[in-house]
Amino acid sequence: MKKLANGLIVAVPLALLAWTAHLILSAPAADWNQNPTAAELDAAAALRDHLYMQAAYTITWAIQLGYLAWLYMKWQAQKG
């Protein structure tokens, strides 16, 4: 049970990191459509804004939880 918890503590920040990369990479490219209408351009820009905003929030938590996991492991090592 303890091993599972320790694994999760490490896995969650790594998963968040991977999710951040996925969000950035899945944003539509600038040349996604050769003849876009104004509405399509606006929709693509809004989608890119949304994905980048989500990426910024996700990586923030990846860093914070990653540091917390490192701190927890250091604390566990002291107890042992």
């Binding site: 809004a46 890119r48 804004d49 980048y52 905003m53 910024a56 929030y57 540091y67 701190l71 002291q78």
Partner: protein, 236 residues
């Protein structure tokens, strides 16, 4: 009683984080120019504020260590633990700033990075404190804490340079906007966004304080373990 107090502060912090997120995503309106992208502000700016505050904690710890290392060895160790904890947690928040900033910049400016005054001085600040942490990790000997404390004091000098780097736009052109509060004459926030910003500021300070306290406890414990090992080595 102590465990109860810790539990309550953890619960309050988590509630603040959830509430701050709700305010930033669902309550605050989209920015007129940047749309939804502007919501990065609610994580980016509080992270920078917390980093600056914790570098200040680290500075006080280093000054305290240098002032008390001869007369009060026990107190000096307490100061040193605060110095290390402040620097390390400050670096974590500064890393958040240096990563969320380019994500924002990529969409707002069309590029991940530019060597303007604010970005460069922030990177230098991060590098100084990372070098402080590396010194603490790898240097040995009785003078290590003293040398690290001096480096910390010099590193802290970069904090006001980072803050004021956007105040001199005519001298040093910068892409980064001036501070939202206390910046240019028309600086400030729309009241509809201010609540979300202040809640996130409070939430990130609470989260940071919790992590800082935890890091301080771990370092104090490490000092005790190191002292006990040294004592055993002397007796052997």
């Amino acid at each position: 009683m102590k465990k109860l107090a810790i539990g309550v502060s953890v619960l309050i912090t988590l509630a603040l984080m959830v509430w701050g997120y709700y305010q930033a995503i669902y309550v605050a309106p989209n920015d007129a120019k940047q749309g939804e992208l502007f919501r990065i502000f609610y994580y980016h700016v509080p992270s920078a504020s917390v980093a600056f505050a914790f570098f200040a904690v680290s500075l006080v710890g280093s000054i305290g260590y240098l002032a008390s290392r001869h007369a009060h060895a026990g107190r000096a160790q307490v100061f040193d633990a605060w110095a290390l904890a402040g620097a390390e947690v400050g670096v974590v928040f500064c890393t958040v700033v240096l990563i969320t900033g380019p994500i924002w910049g990529r969409r707002a400016w069309g590029m991940w990075w530019t060597w303007d005054a604010r970005l460069t001085t922030t990177l230098v600040l991060w590098l100084i404190y990372v070098s402080y942490l590396l010194l603490r990790r790898f240097a040995e000997g009785s003078q290590m804490q003293t040398v690290a404390a001096v480096l910390n004091i010099f590193g802290a000098l970069d904090v006001p340079i980072v803050y004021f780097s956007t105040h001199f736009q005519k001298v040093i052109p910068t892409q980064h906007p001036a501070p939202v509060f206390g910046g240019e004459a028309d600086s400030g926030m729309d009241p509809s966004m201010l609540g979300a910003f202040l809640w996130n500021m409070l939430a990130w300070f609470a989260w940071g304080a919790l992590i800082l306290a935890l890091r301080y406890r771990v370092e104090r414990q490490q000092q005790k373990i190191t002292a006990a090992e040294a004592q055993r080595a002397l007796e052997a």
